[in-house]
Symmetry: C2
Subunit: 497 residues, 2 copies
Amino acid sequence: MALFEKRTEFISPGVLAKVLYDFTAEPGNNELTVKEGELITIVNWAVGEGWCEAANGQGTTGLVPTDYVEVRISYHRYRCLASFPTACPARTTLPIRALACRDNRTQHPIQHCEGLSPDTKKFPTFSKHGPEVYLLSKLLPKTGEQLTIYKGQVGAVWNYPNSSLSCVVADPKKGSKLYGLKSYIEYQVTPNSTNRSVNHRYKHFDWLYERLLVKFGSAIPIPSLPDKQVTGRFEEEFIKMRMERLQGWMNRMCHHPVVSTSDLFQLFLTYRDEKEWKLGKRKAEKDDVVGVMIFGTVEPPAEDIDLLEAEQKVESISKFTKSMDDGVKELLNVGQEHWKRCTGALPKEYQKIGKALQNLSQVFTTSGYEGEAILTDALTEAGKTYEEIANLFEEQPKKDLHYLMETNQEYKGLLGCFPDIIGVHKSAIEKAKEGDKLVALNKITTQEKSTMVNRIGTMSYAFQAEMNHFHSNRIYDFNTVMHYYLQQQVEFYDTVR
Amino acid sequence: MALFEKRTEFISPGVLAKVLYDFTAEPGNNELTVKEGELITIVNWAVGEGWCEAANGQGTTGLVPTDYVEVRISYHRYRCLASFPTACPARTTLPIRALACRDNRTQHPIQHCEGLSPDTKKFPTFSKHGPEVYLLSKLLPKTGEQLTIYKGQVGAVWNYPNSSLSCVVADPKKGSKLYGLKSYIEYQVTPNSTNRSVNHRYKHFDWLYERLLVKFGSAIPIPSLPDKQVTGRFEEEFIKMRMERLQGWMNRMCHHPVVSTSDLFQLFLTYRDEKEWKLGKRKAEKDDVVGVMIFGTVEPPAEDIDLLEAEQKVESISKFTKSMDDGVKELLNVGQEHWKRCTGALPKEYQKIGKALQNLSQVFTTSGYEGEAILTDALTEAGKTYEEIANLFEEQPKKDLHYLMETNQEYKGLLGCFPDIIGVHKSAIEKAKEGDKLVALNKITTQEKSTMVNRIGTMSYAFQAEMNHFHSNRIYDFNTVMHYYLQQQVEFYDTVR
């Protein structure tokens, strides 16, 4: 089952790591002094003999023992085997700690999120205007926002920023206001761009999600936040799980070239004080380059794209995302079923067999017959081994299936955004197809009709760029998660035997 | 989990083997010419370089390629680790072929035998007389039958015959009588003592069982025959399964020093023609050394055993066999449950995961994105691997759990005989305890009372011999089956990974 080759030397340069223990450099040894809790950037993971090269916030580099460092993005141990557009920094974070579901230990926690598919949470602002607002707009926004697309190896691709943004969501702390009447959890968010932490409550993440959806939701899938649970939200397990899912969500946003470079997202990550935050919020809420108008900030393609071509492209994306949605949901269903069995009935059976063997061994010791010891020892030993296998089976899904489920869950969220996006594109194309009729009825000019067709071209171009981003991420994510899953399974069966 | 050491050199001398292909000895090479189908006896399994030493029916020995030989009793590969009374040839046969249950593939076939515990099948002759028939008998039978017991290392042990009896049940053939109106299956039974086959129908085995029960049932557990199924009894799977269970039953009888040397059993194995068989049957049915009278053929112990001691011994045997019965039934229950899961729900789930991964791979090939091949290949490969794991899980129980279940099933049968045996001993002791009262009432003489006590001593002595036989077999059987089971499990997990 060696589908992937394990290559620990391939932790990408630039990956953020957390220092676990204080380490004082020995002078003249090219070492770097680091403090517990400090965030550093890996420069070269595989210096050898247990050392890696890292950079601190001041840009000083030096050697640090790898054991002193926790690479939060454990996936990076496995280099993606797929070929990427050169500039694509697509990446997924795997939460390192295994999570157990509080309410029902035999269920993978994804079920808690069932009610949260994006279509249950529509924003009035999001679909207030039809596509003609953009298609027939006389003046496109001049806000300095400009979404650049260039023609890469795979076709249209977003312009990826030179340095890769990432952030760490950590240290959930209980806070309170109104003299202790209202409690909340505050998370520390640290981007690698500033290495400076900002604090955010869940409702701030929620605000960010809503604004991103309003602004980019016509062009880019903005997946829902993890479950907005009300009861039990101060339970440690829940807080951990939410934190790791917020981390996953933030990673996806950080790695999106359009989202990550937006004022909105930058505000969230880098505001300096309460005043700046409030001011930024107010400005964002007044922003009118939202919905279909976002296409007005996209640099138009060099060549024309005709309506038929645009229509066929939307159709094929629709078909693909629907099929993938079905596939992902199927995998989640069988995974959920398997999770239940592996953590429920199966280990219980192994335990029972173990107990039955040990009971029999106990009975045998009472026979009064000589030469019993070897057999009873063997039976007891076999019984204990079965109990160990029971535990291994019970713990295993948290070590591997969990990540396969989480990744598929993330994709279920992303794929749930496509029907809306596809709807926007389809109704825009329908509108443009009526162009000749509208000209005949004197409702629009020939010039306006031709502008509509051009703008459909721009929308199609943006959609291609987004799909290429989606595909490269998808290939990377599934490669890594499959690799990790199979690797863990091999280790599991090695342990069992 | 290496509880036992694999020692293939330890196929015991004396094990019967079947020649698979013709082999012609090269002159001067110390080889033995053998014919396909011939039964030979292993003298030394581990001559080396693929050769074993064997003896043919004429007593000629020589080398034969091990590959040309099928050791029917696969258990013998693993030498028993328990210490035996030197003369004990205790042995269990494991059917080599795996069996599937026709009616419900997710159930281990043991359930078909549920209705067949010995207590549902009482014989009137068996408990017609109370123990006083023997205890107060003036003249003990003088039939030439004499059951010798000697004091071995572990206490009283039966006198084991010098050469170990075994037989092969094979080649089930359909026969008919009454001009084809009645069909039946005839099995070929070949004992190693004559190397000559006799044919027997299931009803002959049943006759043998009934007669053994009548004759020895007060002193020796005679387990029931495998299920007497009426419908579907000509189905190939059923015939195979029945044959293997008949083989197991015959092995147990062959290895019992009292049963195997009895005229009854010898008649069954070695009759020369129909006339001899019918004559022998009539004689056996007229035999009146049955039930408690069998103790009249037992050589009395050298020392007296007092009533209290005899009573305590019966009590402790009763306790042990009851606990073991519970333990064995528990193991059968959890094993049955595990069998269902391993052959039903679990592989279905692995299949589903495999299918889900392959579906996703199929969807991904339609993306039109470059660099997809490595991922889709990996997903398809992983999907196929899961389907293979599904098959492995499904087939595994037939390779290991099956034998653990069969052995425990055999012991369930044996243990089911003990309540009757214990009942005989207890009521005999009760009778003897009334001795003084009976003397006072002038119902028996002092001489008769003392004879009763002596005869209780003989019964107790015989019971000890039987228990020592039981224990040594038990230790051997459980050691081998556990060893085999764990060995198979290790190989299983090796294959999965």
